[in-house]
């Protein structure tokens, strides 16, 4: 069995591709190149930080003006719409203005096209619409209100899935994008969950003892204030979440694991039964570390 392990900085984090098969070095390297290129393609489309990305075009687009969507966007937006609907709007990527206000996301380039105010840091985030103000029809997206989307809460998982989909049968593969990961052969695989104990004066990082994978994919999210801010916004009130727990979700796909960790952060304490139903409907399992 030949093995190849590669790691590249992509999607704003470190993306690892691990392959094992009875194939030559050349064949494994060729497959890994295709997988990294697939992830790069998604990064180029969905990066909030790249002013040339399709996402930036969507965010700059005026209301009632259609934007054509690629197949990747159509597929991902369909998943987001399901998560948004199933959670009564708790899963909502249109919280970008709040993350910009919190300085988690950059503000450059959005002053003129989307918001006519004096500056993004002074903007009134209530002026922006939500996911329900988007219309998806005939491969086109139309904004009914000014709004901006950040796909940082789900695009990594989607990219992991798309890379894994390129792996032919018989090859064992794992793609790990900064902790959002998926195996082709997940039975008997193990994973550790990293957690930061913020209740102590110094933020201690700890890692759980290894646990078996309970599904092909796992993703982990936390909403503790680390480096001065939280990265999780409650779309109902626009507030940054502040929670000492770490939420990990095992799911059949990494895009679902990634998205469901955000819902776990938002619903765990306020609507546990609702969260339980959503997780069950997606065949997902939640692990909370505190």
């Amino acid at each position: 069995m030949n093995e190849l392990n590669r790691c590249k900085p992509l999607l704003g984090t470190y993306v690892e591709v691990s392959l094992a098969a009875d194939l030559s070095d050349f064949e494994l390297v060729s497959l890994s190149i295709r997988m990294f290129e697939r992830i790069s393609t998604i990064q180029r489309q969905m990066s909030f930080h790249d002013s040339q990305s399709k996402l930036s075009q969507i965010n700059r687009q005026a209301i009632n003006s259609p934007v054509g969507l690629s197949q990747d966007y159509i597929e991902l937006f369909s998943i987001i719409s399901d998560l948004n609907s199933d959670s009564d709007g708790y899963f909502d990527p249109s919280i970008a203005p709040n993350l910009m206000q919190a300085k988690v996301l950059p503000c450059n380039g959005y002053n003129d096209a989307v918001y006519q105010g004096s500056g993004p840091l002074e903007m009134n985030t209530n002026e922006f619409g939500c996911w329900q103000d988007l219309t998806l029809a005939n491969d086109q997206l139309i904004k009914r209100k000014p709004l901006m989307i950040d796909l940082g809460g789900i695009a990594k998982g989607y990219a992991v899935d798309k890379a894994i989909e390129l792996v032919p049968e018989g090859i064992e593969a794992c793609v790990n994008a900064g902790g959002d990961l998926r195996f082709t052969h997940w039975l008997n695989q193990i994973v550790g969950v990293k957690h930061i104990q913020v209740e102590r004066e110094s933020c201690d990082t700890v890692t759980t003892s290894p646990i078996d994978m309970l599904a092909p994919a796992i993703a982990t999210t936390s909403a503790y204030y680390y480096d001065g801010t939280s990265h999780i916004v409650n779309p109902k009130d626009g507030a940054l979440q502040n929670d000492a727990r770490t939420y990990s979700v095992f799911a059949p796909s990494c895009v679902l694991a990634d998205g469901l960790t955000k819902l776990a952060c938002l619903l765990y304490t306020v609507s546990n039964d609702k969260l339980k139903d959503i997780l069950a409907s997606y065949g997902a399992i939640l692990i909370v570390t505190d």
Partner: protein, 194 residues
């Protein structure tokens, strides 16, 4: 002799007691003040990275020493601190460069390889080794699996090495800084070294 024997006995007792305390201290430390652990992964070897980034090119090793003036200029223009005054680099017969570099981030320590073409553009980048301090391991964690009747304790596998860690996403911003520093190094030094 008696005194000596007593001394020997006392010495033996002291050593024995010292060993007991040393053992107790070690166990106590393990239980209540666990040592911080680092977690690391090795990806490509140097030769593999060279073959992937600059395939079928003959490479010639170069040790590049940076003068204080060059270091300051690179730091000023890339806005990234230059920690080392030497660079491990290879130049190909086509004029492309392969550079081995180390990134010291806030949480991570990375060996990376960057290939730069003869026009100063990035051909590719590979992380060769990745080390991260991830703190101590929770052996009796307050964690729990939800909903499917499972408990986390059922899933503990203490005797197996963790190859993959799932955690809140770690930014790769330091690698971006490192690439910017190397591109400026190429512009100011390597482009004139061939």
């Amino acid at each position: 002799m008696k005194t000596k024997n007593n001394n020997q006995t006392n010495t033996s007792r002291r050593l024995a007691i010292k060993r007991i305390f040393a053992g107790s201290a070690a166990i106590t430390a393990g239980q209540f003040f666990p040592m911080s652990q680092s977690w690391g992964k090795t990806f490509l070897s140097l030769e593999q990275a060279q073959a992937i980034l600059l395939p079928e090119e003959n490479l010639y090793a170069r040790t590049i020493d940076l003068s204080d003036t060059q270091r300051k200029q690179i730091a000023k223009e890339s806005k990234v601190r230059v920690r080392s005054n030497s660079l491990r680099a290879w130049v190909s017969d086509k004029g492309n460069w392969f550079i081995l570099d180390q990134i010291l981030g806030k949480h991570e320590n990375i060996d990376m390889a960057v290939a730069i073409n003869q026009n100063g553009g990035v051909i590719g980048l590979e992380v060769l080794t990745y080390r991260e301090s991830y703190g101590h391991e929770i052996r009796h964690p307050k964690w729990r699996a939800q909903f499917h009747g499972r408990t986390a304790s059922e899933r503990l596998k203490l005797d197996r090495d963790i190859k993959n860690i799932s955690g809140a996403t770690l930014s790769c911003a330091h690698v971006t800084d490192g690439v910017n520093r190397l591109l400026k190094t190429w512009e100011l030094v390597l482009s004139q070294a061939t």
